[in-house]
């Protein structure tokens, strides 16, 4: 009896908060068929927004993947002082408000900021342009690969790498043939999480981009812009596409989720 009531609580909870709202949006969007949604999505500014989102993601994900792997290896396999501090800074993006992140970048690279003068002199447009949006996205999606790689590396231990050494493999050979393959699922899962975060980023990019329509709007910024322009249908259409991508991401996460392997 108690079992059923607990189950009911959980199901109602998830339906009310997650599934219900999403279902309504799907319904509302396709109420009048596919045509209006398609129209909204083919708007040139919307297409540009998606392109921008994809470009930013395509840059941020590899950068954070390399960082995550190098960082994970350094923390687990090497000894140096200040590991705790390093761990704290890696985790910080998870606990920090995106608006605070955007503001921090805004202040650092703005005209009066420490880097601002240098950028001005070299005529480099950082804020209100792609570079700042990429940097902001890198910041907020920084931890994911590292946080998956670190526990996996710890669990695996380094005996396979020692064996490779005794068999004559150089450092680089050991890394490519032994270390990397042994953590590949952790890396893949981390990459999926990173990608999801990059695609969904809103607050930090909203601050640094200036939200210039048709120029520095990402897909998520575009949703807000359409809503503010009273184009609810347009906002829904973009949201549906983002939601579909999210469901694909969920699928990928479920398939690649690291399982606790028995010894």
């Amino acid at each position: 009896m108690r079992r059923l009531s607990l189950r009911a609580v959980a199901i109602v909870y998830l339906l009310a908060i997650l599934v219900g709202p999403l279902a309504i949006v799907f319904w509302r969007t396709f109420q009048d068929g596919l045509e209006p949604a398609w129209q909204a999505l083919s708007n040139p500014d919307t297409v540009h927004a998606f392109k921008l989102t994809l470009i930013i993601t395509a840059i941020a994900v590899p950068v954070n993947t390399v960082f995550g792997i190098v960082c994970g290896l350094a923390i687990v396999r090497r000894s140096f002082p200040g590991k705790g501090l390093l761990n704290a800074f890696i985790d910080l993006p998870l606990a920090l408000s995106p608006v605070v992140v955007g503001l921090a970048l805004f202040l650092l690279y703005g005209r009066d900021g420490w880097f601002g003068g240098w950028l001005d002199r070299h005529d480099i447009q950082f804020l209100f342009a792609l570079p700042s949006m990429v940097v902001a996205t890198i910041f907020v999606s920084l931890p994911f690969v590292a946080r998956e790689v670190i526990p996996t590396l710890r669990e695996i231990g380094d005996e396979q790498e020692q064996a490779a050494q005794t068999l004559g493999a150089s450092g680089w050979q050991t890394f490519w043939r032994i270390t990397l393959p042994s953590i590949r699922w952790a890396v893949i899962y981390g990459v999926i999480l990173t990608t999801a975060r990059c695609l969904g980023e809103y607050g930090a990019v909203a601050v640094v981009s200036g939200r210039l329509q048709g120029q520095t709007e990402t897909a998520t910024l575009r949703v807000q812009e359409r809503y503010e322009s009273f184009d609810l249908a347009g906002a829904y259409a973009i949201s549906i596409l983002l939601a579909l991508i999210a469901i694909l991401v969920l699928l990928a996460m479920t398939i690649t989720r690291p399982r606790e392997e028995p010894a």
Binding site: V9, A95, L96, V99, Q162, L250, T254
Partner: protein, 280 residues
């Protein structure tokens, strides 16, 4: 997310550390340079900017009525949501681990939706169901309730995912021993299960709290951002940036920054506390 349970499992003796000093210097150099440029310097610039008008300027900005109202609202809502999560999240984790039914795998996957869905889309979807022209007649947009609702969406996975692995690795035999010694279901839960999953619950709550305090995207649409009514700190800061009031924005942001650091610290403490039984 690295779980507390796996933390305990990994207190096994560490593998040998590399003595290749050149490699250590190189990788460490790369990592610290990257982090300094990407994380440390922006944060430093933020703190510096908040102090531009001196301590009095900082204090004035942080105690201005708008900022205070926003902060009270933010902290209050985040606290409520964290407590709701503690209960509902634990129940959900319990159902996922201990119960078995068709569709459980689907339920397990859906939990991660808030990680995958952009926050702005989350806000919009909540508006569709609970806003004007709500199909079920619940219209709570532009109210304080909407804040709690949106925060519940974005923080839903946190407690569930921190409690799940702990529950999974919990030794069933401990409970069986308690029952064989005469403890009732409720007593067993309170005295055997709860103490063991408490660190998991607490760290999930801490993560949820941090996320809630800083949440922005999902609140922008559904709350209407009415100052003193439904304007949270992140929205307030955004407003100050748009008005060009950098000091006020930076000062309030620094307060949020401190809260974030405090939460990270408390999670570290919880982790240490949780694994103290494993220390020699």
């Amino acid at each position: 997310m690295a779980s507390l349970a796996s933390d305990a499992a990994r207190l096994a003796p560490p593998a040998r550390v590399s003595r290749d000093r050149a490699g250590t210097a190189l990788s460490l150099g790369f990592v610290t340079t990257f982090l300094t440029i990407m994380v440390v310097l922006p944060i430093a610039a933020l703190i510096a900017a908040s102090g531009e008008d001196g301590w009095s300027g900082f204090w004035d900005a942080v105690t201005s009525p708008g900022a205070v109202a926003a902060l009270k609202l933010t902290l209050g809502a985040s606290l409520i949501v964290s407590l709701i999560n503690a209960v509902l999240g634990t129940i959900t984790a319990w159902v996922l681990v201990r119960d078995d039914f068709r569709g459980k795998a689907l339920m397990n996957s859906i939990i991660d939706l808030p990680f995958a869905l952009p926050t702005i889309v989350a806000g919009l979807t909540l508006l569709a169901l609970y806003g004007p022209r709500s199909p079920i007649g619940i219209e709570i947009a532009y109210t304080r309730v909407s804040i709690v609702l949106a925060l519940m969406f974005v923080t839903l996975p946190f407690v569930v995912r921190t409690v799940q692995p702990v529950l999974q690795e919990l030794d069933v035999e401990m409970e069986q021993a308690a029952k064989s010694l005469g403890a009732s279901e409720a007593k067993t839960f309170r005295r055997v299960i709860l103490p063991n999953i408490l660190p998991g619950i607490l760290s999930g709550v801490a993560l949820a709290f941090a996320k809630a305090v800083g949440e922005f995207g999902s609140l922008v649409i559904i709350t209407g951002n009415l100052p003193y009514k439904t304007e949270v700190s992140s929205v307030y800061i955004f407003g100050r940036i748009e008005s060009g009031d950098n000091v006020a924005a930076a000062a309030t942001a620094t307060v949020l920054l401190v809260i974030s650091f405090a939460v990270l610290l408390s999670i570290g403490v919880i982790r240490h506390f949780a694994t103290r039984h494993e220390h020699a």
